[in-house]
């Protein structure tokens, strides 16, 4: 097991280095950083001196090494557009995105899993058909359209919920939270549903498919033949086996929740990292783009690692020696 974790860690570091390389390449080759820092009237000599001072004339490996070291210390330079250190911008925006993703993830999980179980156990009930139809529509509705429809109905027509922003937030040190005020919570409802709906339908379909697969297995048939109660069979045996693959995919989905937050944040003008990123692309604000890329990659790798460890906790075939070769 230790060997496995070490191998995973090394892999994670390699992935991070690869992403850092992309980020660095962005930094170095897309647009001239000097042009973005100085005015039109700066002389060639001054530019050259600045270039030398910034180490832009150093060999590639040296520059890359410096980039990685800086990135590891959360130093991504100055935003072209905002004129402030990128890490400050990100720290300021991170709580909004993380709270939104967290709420959306909870929504997706706590609605999606029960719906998946229900539709698997009651395949022919009309409610299952309703759930499945809704899920198909959910998959076919682009995230931004869901947001627009929600705004149209609940903000424009009914006037119940705010259509943009985080509402009132409470500051805890550098962290600002919208969880503690009524205003903040109402502002969170629509963005969280918008962001979570796609994941919810995905989780529901996944749980359903896995559960149907598990219910067909011999050990479930055998568990029934042993006279165990329907509850023990469905929730004791089938559910646990269903959740093993579901954990992996759900974990990985958490990563895409953070990515899809870009869209939700644009629709609801939610002041998070995604909105920052989109604006950075529009204005070719390379340091912000590179920093966001590295940060998201880091979150992904972290989630992947946690998912793998969870896998160990759930599946004994991996925990105890033997049963190897389970290509992960």
């Amino acid at each position: 097991m230790l060997a496995f974790i070490v191998r995973r860690l090394i892999q994670s570091v390699l992935v991070m280095l690869a992403v850092a390389l992309v980020g660095f390449a962005l930094f170095t080759y897309v647009g001239d950083p000097i042009n973005n820092m100085v005015g039109q009237d700066t002389s060639i000599e001054d530019r050259e001196r600045l270039r030398e001072d910034l180490g832009l004339n150093d060999p590639f490996p040296v520059q890359f090494f410096r980039f990685v070291v800086n990135a590891a210390q959360a130093d991504f330079g100055i935003s072209y557009r905002h004129g402030r250190p990128v890490e400050d911008l990100l720290v300021e925006r991170a709580p909004a995105t993380l709270e939104l993703s967290f709420a959306a993830g909870l929504f997706a999980l706590f609605v999606g899993v029960p719906m998946g179980i229900y539709t698997a156990l009651n395949r022919r009930s009309w409610l299952s058909k309703v759930f499945l139809t809704v899920s198909l529509i959910g998959v076919s509705l682009p995230t931004f359209l869901i947001g627009i429809l929600l705004i149209l109905v609940f903000s424009v027509w009914l006037g119940w919920l705010p259509s943009f922003g985080r509402g009132e937030t409470v500051q805890f040190g550098w962290w600002s939270t919208g969880f503690l005020t009524w205003d903040g919570l109402t502002a969170l409802i629509m963005p969280a549903i918008t962001l979570g709906l796609f994941q919810m339908t995905l989780i529901m379909r996944l749980v359903r498919a896995e559960m149907l697969e598990v219910l067909r297995t011999d050990y479930i048939k055998f568990a029934r033949a042993r006279g165990l109660s329907a509850r023990a069979v469905n929730f004791g045996h089938a559910l646990k086996n269903t959740l093993v693959p579901v954990i992996t995919i759900t974990g990985l989905q958490l990563g895409s929740v953070i990515a899809f937050a870009i869209i939700t944040e644009t629709v609801f003008q939610w002041p998070g990292m995604g909105l920052l990123f989109i604006q950075a692309i529009e204005f070719v604000d390379i340091p912000v783009m590179a920093a966001y890329l590295v940060l998201v990659a880091f979150l992904f790798v972290l989630i992947n690692l946690i998912v793998d460890l969870l896998y160990f906790a759930v599946d004994p075939r991996l925990r105890v020696g033997g049963g190897g070769g389970q290509g992960l």
Binding site: G227, A230, A232, P316
Partner: protein, 332 residues
């Protein structure tokens, strides 16, 4: 003889499909007496497994019992609700399936799967259930059972896993065990051990067994009586010695000729010409008549009932009593 433990009468199992209703089991009747081992033999598709699944109420949907009745210890069990049936399953009827590798839940220790079964059916504490689990594991021949209780299924070999499965089937002392091809998935070298184990344990506990297999060799060694199925219908039923050595039904006769023996060496293994008709294309009359060397007109026209010919009975016109009417049923 004592009252039968299990009594199946005119059982019919239907599978509604998009191309019409398939009848997988058609009018099968048999008894199993306490402590008796009944072998159920037939080719794949003959309806053996469906008969077993119908008895424990585990037919895969859309399969269903369309006609007939099943009594266990005098109580009718084919009309029970799922909840009532659940109390019969495991408690009174245990089951052993074909593949021990897939019969156990990989995510739980065998101890947990045993105690769970024991505590579902018996009013025991967790500790008492564990004691019982250790005892049963010992009985099925798991070495140092107390230590293996917290092991996961993947830590056992195939043969050992089938022993665990048998332990699970026997752990609350059911009156009947339905063993569906219990050795087919195992190594040939282990098959005999497992069969012998099953036979010994059932003798000791007085448990009856419905042993479903396509292997006449296993039946000949293990069973007390045999039921031969063909095309979802009962072809012949009788004591193992009579069925093997003095078969009544031409199909059984052909089946017995197929058993390879060690002392005589036939130039080639005998085989029955043709193959069993599929459920979608059952011929009229006797299902076997297109392949039967002794078929005559009546075989193609009328379906033979089960004719008593003590100690056996066969569904074949050859054994119709003089002047018997086609509709007459030989009651047992």
């Amino acid at each position: 003889m004592s009252d039968p433990l299990l009594s199946v009468r005119d059982l019919r199992v239907d599978f509604p499909t998009r191309r019409g209703v398939l009848t997988a089991v058609d009018g099968v009747s048999f008894d199993i007496h306490p402590g008796e081992i009944l072998g159920v033999v037939g080719e794949s598709g003959a309806g053996k497994s469906q008969t077993g699944a119908a008895v424990i109420g585990l037919l895969e949907p859309p399969g269903r019992i369309a006609a007939g009745d099943i009594h266990l210890e005098g109580q009718r069990i084919d009309r029970l609700s799922q909840e009532q049936l659940r109390k019969v399953r495991g408690r009174k009827i245990g089951a052993v399936f074909q593949d021990p590798l897939t019969s156990l839940n990989p995510l739980y220790t065998i101890g947990r799967q045993l105690t769970e079964t024991i505590r579902t059916h018996l009013p025991l504490s967790e500790a008492e259930a564990r004691d019982r689990a250790v005892q049963v594991l010992g009985e099925v021949g798991i070495p140092s059972p107390a230590d293996r209780l917290d092991a996961y299924p993947h830590q056992f070999s195939g043969g050992m896993r089938q022993r665990v499965v048998i332990a699970l089937a026997l752990c609350v002392n059911p009156r009947l065990i339905i063993a569906d091809e219990p050795t087919t998935a195992l190594d040939v070298s282990i098959q005999a051990q497992i069969t012998a184990l099953l036979k010994r344990l059932c003798r000791e506990h007085g448990t009856a067994v419905m042993l479903i297999t396509h292997d006449m060799g296993v039946i000949a060694e293990t069973a007390d009586r045999v039921a031969v199925l063909y095309g979802g219908r009962l072809a012949e039923v009788g004591p193992v010695d009579d069925v093997v050595n003095r078969p009544l039904h031409p199909y059984t006769e052909g089946l017995m000729a197929c058993i390879p023996t060690t002392h005589e060496r036939p130039p080639r293994l005998a085989q029955i010409e043709g193959s069993m008709p599929s459920l979608t294309a059952m011929p009229p009359g006797c299902a076997f008549h297109p392949r039967c060397p002794h078929a005559f007109d009546r075989c193609a026209a009328e379906r033979p009932p089960l004719f008593d010919h003590p100690p056996s009975a066969a569904a074949c016109w050859l054994w119709a009593p003089e002047g018997a009417r086609a509709t007459e049923r030989a009651a047992s």
